[in-house]
């Protein structure tokens, strides 16, 4: 159990299936996206190749957050049981002009439940070290540390404004 525990649910992006998976949700999500750049789209399943793609997602989010670069990212994650969570991350200012990251989650129905749509907005993004083992505390990584997406996890903080 010395391996990185968080790679338990390894995931992979399957670009070939993205259009099918994302069709309905992306129509709903498209109003959130900026026309300033093409929105990268990822479809991620539980798979042994997936961590590489998660690294890209983390790096994209961290880069845009740090550089205060407007833009958006669409990620469809499939959970262990196959339920899709279609997430749209949009970087920009809120109504008061504060730099923030808007997160829209659209989930497909599961075990007879209805689909749902959840909106959040983060005002801080933290990088924490990959846990050294099960049930260990999160260790914050300095903002100026230049490390790859494989070396950290991201926590999007909703309650604190910069």
């Amino acid at each position: 159990m010395n391996q990185i525990p968080s790679t338990i649910l390894a995931i992979v992006i399957l670009n070939s299936g993205s259009s099918l998976v994302c069709r309905a949700a992306c129509l709903q999500l498209s109003s959130w996206t900026s026309a300033q750049e093409k929105t990268p789209t990822y479809v991620i399943r539980v798979d042994s190749e997936g961590e590489k793609k998660n690294e890209q997602v983390r790096e994209f989010i961290w880069h845009h957050w740090q550089k205060r670069q407007p833009g958006s990212l669409a990620v469809t994650w499939f959970g262990l049981e196959g339920q899709a969570s279609e997430d749209m991350f949009t970087f920009g200012s809120d109504e008061q002009g504060a730099w923030s990251l808007k997160i829209l989650i659209v989930r497909e129905p599961r075990k007879g439940k209805a689909s749902e749509r959840i909106e959040n907005r983060a005002y801080s993004v933290e990088r924490v070290q990959v846990p050294a083992g099960p049930h260990t505390d999160n260790i914050l990584i300095p903002e100026d540390a230049n490390i790859p997406g494989s070396a950290y996890r991201l926590i999007l903080i909703r309650t604190t404004r910069n």
Binding site: P5, T7, I8, L9, E81, S85, K111
Partner: protein, 137 residues
């Protein structure tokens, strides 16, 4: 891993009692189905699933082709997937539909804002293994 699992089950279930998990009360593990068969059974692309009513303590399904991969993380996947589905079984058993205020079945103790999975199993995985791949705080 047993102590960590039990600690995290207690953390996740909070005030609600959760039986200490041992081999004696462990859900049955069914790895007879490949992911394609599991997907056909579940109706969506699943690598793991559960049936809380099959067997004395429920049944955990994990896709056999995921377990047979020759990768460094396959054992971690097995631990995490079993813990995930075990937690869901405990939740589904203790909180059947329409018994505790209308909470989503199997998601009583999950984080509704989790970007990937909001069920109780995901919350236990988070406790055991930390944020993955990203988390809302």
């Amino acid at each position: 891993m047993g102590q960590i699992l039990n600690d995290c089950l207690r953390d996740t279930f909070g005030q609600d009692p959760v039986p200490n998990q041992t081999l004696a009360n462990a859900p049955r593990l069914d790895i007879s189905r490949a992911s394609a068969q599991l997907t056909a059974m579940v109706g969506q692309g699943a690598a793991g699933y559960n049936d809380p009513d099959l067997g004395p303590f429920g049944t955990v399904y994990i896709a056999s082709d995921y377990l047979s991969q020759n990768t460094p993380n396959v054992l971690n996947f097995a631990y995490g997937a079993y813990a995930h589905e075990l937690a869901n079984i405990l939740d589904e058993t203790q909180n059947p539909p329409a018994t505790t205020g209308g909470q989503p079945y199997g998601e009583t103790y999950g984080d509704p804002n989790d970007p990937v999975d909001k069920d109780t199993g995901a919350a236990v995985n988070w406790c055991m293994f930390g944020p993955y791949p990203i988390s809302l705080g």
